[in-house]
Amino acid sequence: MKTFGIVFGYSFKERIRSKSFMWMTLLLVAIVAAIVLIPRFTGGQAVTNGKVAVVNTSGLPIDAQGLKTAVSPVYDWEIVPESELAAKTQQLREEDLTAVVAIAPGTEAAPAPSIELSVNHKEDGSFAQNLNAYVDRLNVNAQVGTLGLTAQQSGTLTAQPTFEWKELNAGGKSTAETFMPVYALLMVMFFMIYLFAGNVATSVAVEKGSRIQEILITKVSPGQLLAGKVVGVGMAGMLQFGIVVAFAALLMNVGGTGEALTIGSITFDLSILGGQTLIVCAILYVLGYFFYATLFAAAGSIVSRSEELNQSMMPVSMLLMAAFFLSMIVLNDPNGTLATVGSYIPFLTPMVLLTRVGAGDPALMEIAIPIAILAVSTLIVGWLSSKIYRGGVLLYGQKPSVGTMLKMLGTSGKKVHSQAKPGTKGANGAA
């Protein structure tokens, strides 16, 4: 255990003192600052979809506030006089505006007001239906006013139907609400595993490339070396993650609003997911990291020079990417067969199960069993990786491939000599 501690300490320190660690932390902090601060600099307001100029000659009481409330909150509405219509249309052509609306009074032949909506592309006029309903209601109200009805009569005529959503959540949570937070958690998980576990591969490849491995392995068992490195680099990653999260929390509290982060019309609120999901998420982050970090370490140990690292990391990266893309697909159907089956396959479990737990509605056993399978698989992968590592350490000049890895498994394990000294024997379990 003592040697493990020394390897752990060295790997951790080596990692956090490296230039790449510092730059990556600064970059992540800058990205977080941009996400949190940019909406504030634009007037505490979410970024809008654009400006719409409205020319109203219909005589109906249309104003910018009404349009914002009743038609669409994500556009900036501007009422302009008729004389500016040509100028505004020109601005639209120059793409300084998103849309120009001209509302004219009805004619004898067509008594209802006419609405002319000019856009550069049809998708810019997504508010058309709401606009139509709004103008229609104002027009009905105006017409009712001319009929000389009693207040009660006109009230009855213009009354709006009451409308109430009832969300029963049968078949799981609302996908629309959970999509963003789960998507974000998946993205963060993907990059964390790829970066930190990738660092383990780099660190192993550097030791291999500089040939110090041959000395280390006379001092420490490969299992302890691997475990110390994986945990050390992992803890450095946790520290980096912690710094970024703490910075984000600090920034968001500086404004004192305590509101959920909003980007455009998308609200990012982890609390939608609930504490249970976040606990499962933390477990999956840790297990996922260990699973992939040990695999990446094995990939790192079969290269002769660090230049070959990308090539040997490829198969493991592919697994990780497959897991990421599959989890994106099942995010739309988190209770489907693909999601359920996928969550039991160890290399997919971290991300697919996270999607299921976050967006779907799995039973407790459907969470516990995949996690148990992943934990056991991580131990097996750790054991196999330490064998590949032991064999790969002295292997130079061979092309890094899955075949090489399998060969290492075949040659390194038959007669396992313990490298540990008498005092430390038995402590060579890999992560």
């Binding site: 003592k2 040697t3 020394i6 390897v7 060295y10 080596e14 490296s18 550097v206 030791e207 500089s210 040939r211 110090i212 491995q213 041959e214 000395i215 280390l216 392995i217 006379t218 001092k219 420490v220 350490v393 002295l394 038959k414 007669k415 000599h417 313990s418 490298q419 000294k421 008498p422 005092g423």
Partner: protein
Amino acid sequence: MTLEIKHLGKHYGDKKVVDDVSLTVKAGEAFGLLGGNGAGKTTTIRSVLGLLEYDQGEVLWNGRPFLENRPSIGYLPEERGLYPKETVSEQLIYLARLEGMKRGDAHKALKTWLERLGIAEHENKRVEQLSKGNQQKVQIISALIHDPELVILDEPFSGLDPVNADLLASVVKEQIALGKALVFSSHQMMQVEQFCENICILKRGRAQIGGRLADIKRSYGRSNLILRSEADLTSLLEGRGLADIRRDAQEWTLKVKDEAQAHELMRALGQAGVPVLKFELKEPSLHEIFIEKVGEAV
């Protein structure tokens, strides 16, 4: 403290890279493991250290299986290995701590070694900033800092200039005097002759010759004769059954069958009245023995 290798064998596929090699290294002694490129020296060393698995034989330390009863080892591999981006002190202390040293003790030992090898000013430099010779010194410290019982040095003199080679020679002698068991692998026969009491010459994985260097040399007999004279000896040396007669600027070197033949030649030179400035009868050098044993394979 004794390292024993008994009938060690290792093959890759059909190719035997180490074949029935046996040797014994005692405390306070340097053992010379010699051989041409690909003779099996490094494979033997790696098998001893447990970096490779061997197929036959056994390796013992004080009569017990080596890997169950490991001494502390100071290993200088043939291919040098250090962290290029880390500082000298950082990595040497790390390596010493992995051998069970406390941080403080490791630091003290580091200071002493850096002073000893004259690179104290490089303590906090990154290894990649050092010259090749200084990197080699750091590598040597990495092998010796933790005061190991068994020292294995694979080509320790490569990359060192004559001054530093002498410095290292004094370190090696000191290690022998401290009672370390030392395995020394080198192509430089002069150094091996300087340190090693026992040797083993490997060729294609098999021991060609082994034992005490003095005994080996004696078994070859004193057959090398060196003569120096200002006169031309050619006519006197011819027709006597002497072999390999060579003449350089001042000296003749030749081979005699035995000492009697050499004495006969001396008498003949005396009778001819030729002034002889030097008449030396020598054992073959290790270099010659090596060439003879490994010869065509090198």
